[in-house]
Symmetry: C5
Subunit: 361 residues, 5 copies
Amino acid sequence: MVHKKRKRRIAQKAGLPPGTLVATAGPGHPEHAAPLAVAITRILYDAAGYDERGVASIEEALPAPDEKRTLWINVDGVHDIAILERVGKQFGLHPLLLEDIAHTEQRPKLESYGDHLFMDLNVFHLHEGSDEIHGEQISLVLGANWLLSFNEGPQPWERPLRERLKADKAHCRQHGPDYLAYTIIDAVVDGYYLVLERLGDRIEDLEEELMASPTPQTLHAVYLLKREVIHLRKSVWPLRELIGGLQRERDLVRESTGIYLRDLYDHAVQVLDTVETYRDILAGMLDIYLSSVSNKMNEVMKVLTVIATIFIPLTFVAGIYGMNFEFMPELKWRYGYLFFWGIIVAVGLGMLAYFRRKKWF
Amino acid sequence: MVHKKRKRRIAQKAGLPPGTLVATAGPGHPEHAAPLAVAITRILYDAAGYDERGVASIEEALPAPDEKRTLWINVDGVHDIAILERVGKQFGLHPLLLEDIAHTEQRPKLESYGDHLFMDLNVFHLHEGSDEIHGEQISLVLGANWLLSFNEGPQPWERPLRERLKADKAHCRQHGPDYLAYTIIDAVVDGYYLVLERLGDRIEDLEEELMASPTPQTLHAVYLLKREVIHLRKSVWPLRELIGGLQRERDLVRESTGIYLRDLYDHAVQVLDTVETYRDILAGMLDIYLSSVSNKMNEVMKVLTVIATIFIPLTFVAGIYGMNFEFMPELKWRYGYLFFWGIIVAVGLGMLAYFRRKKWF
Amino acid sequence: MVHKKRKRRIAQKAGLPPGTLVATAGPGHPEHAAPLAVAITRILYDAAGYDERGVASIEEALPAPDEKRTLWINVDGVHDIAILERVGKQFGLHPLLLEDIAHTEQRPKLESYGDHLFMDLNVFHLHEGSDEIHGEQISLVLGANWLLSFNEGPQPWERPLRERLKADKAHCRQHGPDYLAYTIIDAVVDGYYLVLERLGDRIEDLEEELMASPTPQTLHAVYLLKREVIHLRKSVWPLRELIGGLQRERDLVRESTGIYLRDLYDHAVQVLDTVETYRDILAGMLDIYLSSVSNKMNEVMKVLTVIATIFIPLTFVAGIYGMNFEFMPELKWRYGYLFFWGIIVAVGLGMLAYFRRKKWF
Amino acid sequence: MVHKKRKRRIAQKAGLPPGTLVATAGPGHPEHAAPLAVAITRILYDAAGYDERGVASIEEALPAPDEKRTLWINVDGVHDIAILERVGKQFGLHPLLLEDIAHTEQRPKLESYGDHLFMDLNVFHLHEGSDEIHGEQISLVLGANWLLSFNEGPQPWERPLRERLKADKAHCRQHGPDYLAYTIIDAVVDGYYLVLERLGDRIEDLEEELMASPTPQTLHAVYLLKREVIHLRKSVWPLRELIGGLQRERDLVRESTGIYLRDLYDHAVQVLDTVETYRDILAGMLDIYLSSVSNKMNEVMKVLTVIATIFIPLTFVAGIYGMNFEFMPELKWRYGYLFFWGIIVAVGLGMLAYFRRKKWF
Amino acid sequence: MVHKKRKRRIAQKAGLPPGTLVATAGPGHPEHAAPLAVAITRILYDAAGYDERGVASIEEALPAPDEKRTLWINVDGVHDIAILERVGKQFGLHPLLLEDIAHTEQRPKLESYGDHLFMDLNVFHLHEGSDEIHGEQISLVLGANWLLSFNEGPQPWERPLRERLKADKAHCRQHGPDYLAYTIIDAVVDGYYLVLERLGDRIEDLEEELMASPTPQTLHAVYLLKREVIHLRKSVWPLRELIGGLQRERDLVRESTGIYLRDLYDHAVQVLDTVETYRDILAGMLDIYLSSVSNKMNEVMKVLTVIATIFIPLTFVAGIYGMNFEFMPELKWRYGYLFFWGIIVAVGLGMLAYFRRKKWF
């Protein structure tokens, strides 16, 4: 459960001075059994060319001072505090910004630091073969002609994005780092669609199960799904605000990118709409479950009532003729036994007719 | 279920660069068994005249550069990417705008591109003989003296609208393409009224069923109806915003059209009111259902209790006189059997009086 | 049900060009069996005098062009399209405005047309001897020194209002048509109080019924009342906005009338408060009903359980001594039968004590 | 129930011209058995002196025209229309303002009439020995150097306030009538705390009752308490707005008083917070009640089921050996009866073990 | 329960003039058995040096008039009215501000008094070994180069904060008292994380209990937890506003501190998010509980129904052959008894098959 982890991490930090770097992910963290090496990639590009290089240290990644090309540094792995501090020093980043990068349980947000913008994003991955949704944090720092991106680990969108950048001289490389930031956020939002699709499938499965044969397990699944939707919603709301805010950052975000951001904003609203719809649907499913349980109990009660109300009076009649009174004229009748059966059949059929009229079976 | 489709389509696109045209409707799409030809109609009109022509390609539809008349190009079928791209090139449309036209699962929205406005609308159709509501997308691009409209397929309002345009020289043809856009949105909103009327009828039917003889099927129908209302609501909210925004677009929308839009806005609010009312009513119906099930179970329980509490003690009494004790004086009494019946009738009538006083039957 | 009617009427109009006049009330309409004559009254007044006249046609009602007195034309009956069109022509009213007058199922609204204001109001009447609330529409058009009022039929406030106007030279006739419009809206809001009083009485009756002896009919009544409150609320919200908007219309509404409108606004807020309170109370009543049904079932169950758990074991004991084993020593005992009754009484009293301690009866 | 009274009073007025004075409290009103004399007190004060006088008529209360001291006229009893009209004449009050004073069922509000402010407040009293909350209205009119206060009857805060004013030359008498108005509103808000404290105690009592032994009476009490909280809330919301608005009335409210109003505003927010919390808690209590009823029914069912499922099969076995078949070998067995008891004990113990494992008892 | 205490304290004060100092904590208060001494600490610091001193009276704590260093006076214990009054006199604090410090049941708030800011905060502590959350109030007064802090008792963050201040010449001591205020609020917010972590653990425990074996005690725990969350929420909402307001106080809060406050604001939003999520989850748990109770009752009913519907008819059959009719041919049959067993086994197995098909066991 992502949500509990978040709380715990920040609680660890309670008492330390603000701006203290404490890694909440990475080696030494119980979640990652083996330490993960930090991978730094440096890309320089403009309409004319594209230069990609894996570097060992952040200092290697720095371009010449008179570099005109757009610089993109991508860091996979935020658990190495030393690297973050060196990045901070090179690009003049505020300690609180670095702290936000290192603490991977942040709420999505956009913050302006004058000549650069800081963005925190939550990305969600689906584990193959399981229904668990795994959340990671991506941090972006956008400067005038550079972009820094920090991921908890390698992201699925990294490779396709680089290849598009390499290939698409006419379009992608024409734009600056703001467009690059847009494409990354776009990939993140696309990831939400995949998660929503999976959730939607599970909701439909549960719906069918609910209608056909609900069990307490179905309800439990609805409950867990509802929690995941609540959790997802908590990430999407601020994401929408982030994109809206980015559109208004006219200094670092060019007009041409603004149109793309507007489109992205619509996508975020659509994701939110879907999340809210799922919430409504899941809330409705609980009611369906409860009424289905009531119905089943009703059915059980009817069976009991039909059987008991037919046979209890009949047993009473049989009990009468099992009595040992000396004077019981019926017992001596020639057709006493047949007479008994007549009563039994009449009462039984009468009862059945009554229940049939009541539509009990 | 429209809502699931939407999610799935956009998920297909995840990973592609923004602005990539991927048709989500039309031939090759599993929903349309046979490919549907794209029909392009070009209309030129002013107060003086009206000229309508079906054209084979978008280039044919383009008027002379010095054309003063209002141009309306209507495209039925958005699955042919090539046509959209040629339209985009001719009218200088942004790739994202074309992408929104091609992806037919958009949220209604209004976007300004400087010298033209883009509008996405959801229109709902009722299938004859079924309760299913089918959603389609209509996209409008409004320029200074031209209007482009893109539909997933032929729309019921197309023919009457053209005929009115042809006939009504005094009114419709006096106004520009903004008024034409208004009439199309008006037709869309009128479509909502038809859908709401159908939903209202079904709600009334379900209400009567609930009061008379609710079954789990009734509840299921309420649940499905509720989902449709949730879905409809998701379209009407942004539609209202769209019309409100259109009123403020003073460059491309004339003052005279503004009054009509204000009226249309009121209609959209009324639709929304009705949708919200339906939601409230449907939510209340679930409670009625649950309490009706409780009532029924109560009734079943009462029958069981009345029968059981009368006959169980009587059976006990009969059991006593079926015992084989050697010394049981009542068995030898002359009127022992009558005495037994006296007890039985007294206990039985006492019980009945008790239940009658409790108003159990 | 007013709410369904509204939807249906507008659906009728779907497909017609905007501004087409279609009467939704009056002769030919199924609701009115016999055609109702349209009654036009023309009143001219100022501080100096008062002149009231019933006129046959709208043209007769028009004053001399240099008329300085305030003109009030009241039209009872909006089903005669021709009259509306002639009024529209004389006073320069927009076709959409006339359409709103003719369609009597509008949402309350205020619209400015430059030199005149248009207002749509819903008024509610109580039918004597029935619980049904009947809604009608009143439309007002306020000009610089004239007021037009259109009602579906004669209104109860018409006569007292005219007499006050005739009598109260010092106050009412000093003010212009804006004050006249205020007095009409005030009469409408007073009508809401009467409706709320009736609803409040019914809520109190239902409350007592719920506490004393709830039946499914009580619940049905709560449900229907809830629907009426939902419907009423839909009219009061926009009415409040209308009055608020009127206060800001400084061109046609004088300062002196503004104070009266502020007071009226408070009344509308109070009506809304009461409607919301009723909604809360009705929602709470459903819960009371459900818990009352649960309590009753609990009581039924207790009776069944007490009787069954006492007599089922006793019957078993009686069954034992009805067995025909050859060797059953108790049967031969001299006081076997008394011994049996001893067991029965002990078990029975023990059970009773147990249930008494459990507070089951 | 205050809330019903309010509605009824205003409904009485429906049809009268606006500004008509109709007393809704006082003599002749069914609530007050005996007519209550109107008590008028006139106080003139400044830092130098304090002069208090009970006066018989409002004209006596008027100060000399060149009076510099602050004037406070307190009127206990608003049912004497003549007095209100004379006050209105002397201080130039609008008829609507007087109407609001006379109608004691108003919503709290603040209205500016240029050179004076009008305030309506609801004050709540607790009746000793009963749980009923009784609401009264206080109206304040604040001028440049005078304050009028109108109460339905004598208020508990009157005497302490006057004595403080008399004694506290340094502080209270330094300030003008705006500070005096503040102290009165402060006393009103303090009254809310007392009411909330009582409600809080009752909520705690009900909580304990719910946990220990809930009865339908408990639920009824929760329901009534909820209604009172809904009613209280309706008064506190506008009170908060009133105080907020007063802070912005910079003409008649001095800067020095502003700080006190800010503090008072916080108190009103705190009252509102508590009211909202009570609402949440009461809503939660209903759920607890329902689940407690369910639990009890569950317990009853378990007892029935345990007894019935043990003894019904045993009775069947006893029934078998009570049959009269000629050939039933067990009946002849020497230890047949013991064998029977063996079966009975085995089945009975098996059942008990089963239920114990199910944790049914 | 903190919430009740608050109400009671303020109610005590009802009737006293505003600004009257009444201690709501400290000696004489039932909560503190033994009086607690008030501890005053005075700290003077700048980048150059740090001087800390415990002082006996507030007058000792005052610096020389030409003091340039930042002054921090921390007072642990707010029950000594005399000390507060002397502080107020020395720093020119308004009586209402002092009143807010002394009344420890305030809502968090920020108030500007021109040259100084007043802040009220709620801090929460967890008692070791118990689940109770204990709330205390911290008040801060921020001047141009001084900060006063008032706590109900010694706070856990005091010592680490002083040591950091002493050690961290480069960073903490560079900033003014606004940064100091920030670090204190940061410590308070960190305290919320600890409380949330504990609540989160308890929620998870309850969740497991609910799924495994819910009892009425579980529900009671959910109810109490929900109340604590409601209470916590009431403190966090105004805290968020407080931090937001502090960011806008540009006179006393330096630009450099603004960035830290923005970060703190994000933390407060995150706390709020978590509180809201807990509320949603706890609300969902009640539904789970109710449905779990329903399920259990269903299960009980099934056992009863299976046993009763199998054995009641069989008992009837046994009853038949226990009758004493003279003419009952079956009794004389050679294999009558076997025939009886045949019927019994057939009926019993048929019933079992039926219930198995119904999935009742």
